[in-house]
């Protein structure tokens, strides 16, 4: 790890003032569970690290009259233990399932909501120093001719073939959550899905945040539907899922009033799926099965990851089943 200077501001305004406009010059630090590893491998080399852990309001969950505001440095533990997840009759199980899927108590104690959403891709080409786009000297991707068993099956026509690693993002997208961003230019609010983009050229990032912009909170509407997240994972212990599906449903007399679905670990961004076809229809096993098949229709798997197509269908079906059952 390179040497850096360190600051621990007490307010968001101070923190933002310490961030450079130039990508990579400075890095915000929350739980550090990803940033420290990235710095040890010289994948990021900030000259200044700005700790957000001294900013008390960022570690708070605020329950408002119509919305729930989760600060960016709320730990995954604090999220799981927060009364709102139980006291309001398990209003957002999709989010709880996703956080509980992070199987290491140490990571749950250290890791934060903001850090989980903005962790860098786990693509082994990226982590071994080949860049996010994993290109050789001629600019050709190493991924299609290499080992891509965990790579993207959607959104992979461009140079980005990695999958976004966030567990919480698909759940938050299905739940219609928004993200609050602060920069020297002020505060803006975007949908969680708008935090992400697939980089198109070397040097581009996988998020839409400016270098001097901080994610400060995610905001959920208090009226929450039935929801669930189902992850397909290779083992019970700590690992990233192979695929994940989050669904959120509003039902009216047995028929779908609204449905939102998002997949994880299938594309360079969390992958929202259009569920408009379900609206107005009863949600039986046949309808869910047909939707799962249709949702994967446009998939473009590589030679060694076509298995993820079927797993994603399974994840969708089981997420719907869990949401309806209210687990």
């Amino acid at each position: 790890m390179n040497a850096f200077e360190y600051a621990r501001p007490a307010t968001v305004a101070e923190a933002v003032g310490l961030l450079s406009k130039q990508e990579g010059e400075t890095a915000p630090l929350a739980g550090g569970t990803d940033l420290l590893s990235l710095m040890k491998d010289f994948l990021v080399e900030p000259k200044r690290v700005v700790s957000l852990m001294g900013i008390e309001p960022l570690a708070e969950i605020a329950v408002g009259a119509s919305e729930l505001r989760i600060g960016a440095t709320v730990t995954l533990d604090a999220l799981l233990q927060a009364g709102f997840l139980n006291q309001w009759g398990a209003k957002w199980p999709a989010l709880w399932h996703a956080a509980a899927g992070i199987k290491s108590p140490q990571l749950r104690a250290m890791g934060t909501v903001g850090g989980e959403l903005l962790q860098r891709p786990r693509c082994w080409y990226f982590r071994r120093g080949h860049g996010l786009l994993a290109q050789d000297a001629k600019g050709e991707s190493l991924v299609p001719r290499g080992d891509h068993r965990y790579h993207a099956i959607f959104g992979n026509a461009g140079p980005a073939k990695f999958v976004h690693p966030s567990s919480l993002a698909p759940a938050l997208i299905a739940l219609g959550a928004e993200a609050e961003l602060v920069s020297p230019r002020g505060v803006r609010t975007v949908k969680v899905e708008e935090l992400y983009r697939a980089p198109q050229a070397a040097g581009e990032r996988e998020t839409t945040l400016a270098a001097d912009e901080l994610l400060t909170a995610v905001v959920l509407k208090k009226v929450a539907p039935k929801s669930a997240t189902y992850e397909v994972r290779p083992r019970q212990g700590l690992d990233w899922p192979l695929v994940a599906a989050s669904v959120a449903l509003e039902l009216d007399g047995g028929k779908v009033k609204a449905a939102r679905v998002a997949l994880g670990h299938v594309a360079p961004t969390p992958w929202p799926v259009d569920a408009a076809a379900l609206v107005g229809k009863p949600l039986d096993e046949a309808a869910i099965g047909a939707f799962a098949v249709a949702a994967l229709q446009g998939a473009t798997p590589l030679a060694k990851n076509a298995y993820k197509v079927e797993l994603a269908q399974v994840a969708i079906r089981r997420a719907f089943a869990a949401a309806l059952k209210g687990i």
Binding site: A7, A10, G17, L18, T33, L36, G54
Partner: protein, 221 residues
């Protein structure tokens, strides 16, 4: 936090010389947040024209700075670069080598210590960030019990180790779990130890050790 040092910076990030000597203590108590200066930070800034009312957030390093750590109930004062992890501070500066450096990437759990009662990977906490927290290491556990702690005795009784390299991390993970989980089932124990790896595969014995220590605590065997 201790007295900060403001050495010459090799960084290209602009610095404010007049801030030399501003203490981190003031920051920690929130005094700066109440100074009324914070709001001005939202105004755009350039490297050449620093607004005079810029927030006086002290910068530490990259050279060694004073770091105060509360380890096993004792305050230890060190001089460390901000990049030094808690694990390296323990092992290389305090000769507390119980926590092991294995993956050094927040995955294997061999470096597990307790911070404010919660298990953390010491390899992935900056020592400067661990200031003000109560840190417990495997050395402190044995010290507090004048020999092996109950969880350690249960490790011995259940043959819960083989090569032993992951054991100190596992002991601390088990100790952290034990404190909040009276009456836990085997399934919950295994779930609670999800952050530690053992290449010898001693999980069965480790889970038995935790179940035994929980049993003993409620007056069982």
């Amino acid at each position: 936090m201790g007295q900060p040092e403001q050495p010459e910076s090799a960084s290209s990030v602009s610095r404010r010389g007049f801030l030399k000597g501003v203490g981190a203590t003031a920051l920690a108590t929130g005094a700066l947040a109440q100074s009324g200066l914070a709001a001005t930070a939202l105004a755009p800034r350039t490297a050449n024209a620093e607004p005079p009312a810029a927030p006086p957030v002290p910068l530490f390093g990259p050279a060694p700075v004073a770091v105060k750590l509360d380890i096993n109930g004792k305050v230890r004062e060190l001089r460390l670069e901000p990049r030094v992890t808690l694990l390296d501070a323990l092992r290389n500066h305090l000769d507390l080598t119980g926590a092991k450096k294995v993956c050094d990437r927040a995955t294997c759990g061999a470096c597990t210590v307790l911070m404010d009662g919660k298990t953390v990977y010491a390899c992935t906490v900056l020592a400067v960030e661990a200031q003000g927290k109560k840190i417990e290491t495997v050395e402190g556990l044995a010290e507090a019990h004048g020999g092996n702690a109950p969880i350690q005795k249960c490790f011995v009784a259940n043959d819960a180790q083989q090569c032993g390299f992951c054991t100190p991390g596992f002991v601390m993970a088990c100790e952290g779990f034990r404190r909040g989980h009276a009456g836990a089932s085997r399934e919950e124990v295994l779930e609670g130890l999800g952050g530690n790896l053992c290449r010898c595969g001693t999980y069965h014995g480790v889970a038995n050790a935790v179940l035994d220590v929980l049993d003993a605590a409620k007056g069982g065997k």
